[in-house]
């Protein structure tokens, strides 16, 4: 049941991200629902599980969208691990914590992605321009969406539908 639910969550996120938003507004700035999901799940779990979920989601994104293998895998694994590390430090029913954490981790993930991109491909845009034009709007979107997503996942976890009790 837990694996099935996880598969549904990731499938829905990928579909919304790639088939709804990207087709409706190609070239625009879109929220990264996979990152949101990874951070939210990691905050309800731990660093190890967060890293594994992040790596799996990122690799899935790499494969499905023909990105160099590990490109999104690495940044999402890192975001998942960091969120999982913070999971022990926050009150899980205190909404502002995950909302602020996802905003900060979005920034970290965006910087890592930019540096990785610049390492391997010609990137004409400067880091500052990228952060102001793309990352900031994305951070704002993640801030808003986390307010909706986290309480939903939190309620699922309260019913032990996401992770077993001893793992969370």
């Amino acid at each position: 049941m837990q694996y099935l639910l996880m598969a549904v969550l990731f499938t829905v996120s990928l579909s919304v991200q790639g088939s709804v938003l990207a087709l409706a507004r190609p070239g625009g700035v879109h929220p990264d629902f996979l990152l949101l999901l990874v951070v939210a799940l990691a905050l309800l779990s731990d660093a190890r599980r967060g890293a594994v979920l992040g790596l799996a989601a990122g690799l899935l994104q790499d494969i499905l969208f023909s990105a160099p293998l590990g490109f999104f895998g690495f940044s999402k694994m890192m975001a998942g691990a960091l969120a999982g590390m913070l999971a022990r430090e926050i009150y899980k029913d205190f909404l502002p914590a995950p909302v602020l954490i996802v905003t900060v981790l979005t920034l970290v993930s965006e910087i890592v992605t930019f540096l990785l991109m610049r390492l391997y491909f010609p990137v004409a845009i400067s880091l500052w321009s990228y952060l102001s034009d793309v990352s900031l709007p994305r951070m704002a979107m993640h801030f808003m969406f986390m307010i909706i997503l986290y309480p939903f996942l939190y309620r699922l976890q309260k019913r032990h539908l996401l992770f077993a009790e001893n793992e969370s």
Binding site: A22, L23, G27, F65
Partner: protein
Amino acid sequence: MIEDVVLVILTPVQGVFQRITRSAESVLATVRNYQYLLKENERLTEQLVAAATLESRLAELRRENHRLRQLLNLEARSEHELMAAEVTAREASGWFQTMTINRGATHGVAPRMAVVTSEGLVGNVLSVTTVSAQVLLLTDTRQAVSALVQRSRDPGEATGIVESAAGRLGSLKMINLPREANIQTGDTVISSGLGGVFPKGLVIGYVLETGEDEYAIMKYALLKPAANFNRLEEVFVVLTSPAGR
């Protein structure tokens, strides 16, 4: 006489009362009809929404019809064997320019096949699954196409490589053009067929401006892509070229 006096006095008073009564009747009628009017309003609003939806759907069908006619026209006039496909997903991060189409190995799609629209070249197939394929768009930094200027069609004179224009999202850049290349604004750039991935003669884009590279050894040209990469819904996979690639 008495009747006149009474009527002179009574008539205005009656008039006032009549107006009051009518107003009251009107108010009462409104109150009585309130539920009916509410339902009527609801029904009309629903009809309006349904009509608006229908109109929007009609406009969408018109656009789809237009696109499909263009594609059919392309299929009819193309010298290549084409297969229609629908775009089902696109890479959303913005770092890579790829898309997924709903045709795969079972439909005869193979890696490296060119993908076009009625307007021009879109990219080529990067990887294939049984029922879908990943297409690497021309605007991706990993893409490069050997191209020439249609007006001259001289492979020696105006041949270059078309790649994504770094820093100009959605634009293309033709590089490695000889200094003496006969190229000017408005020229159409087509695939040269060199390299074996893209068949010769597919329209890539139109020259926006030309210039010299930083060492003034070669020329470059900025291109406006022929295909509209912001409205890719139906595309064609070039299954075979006349050369029997």
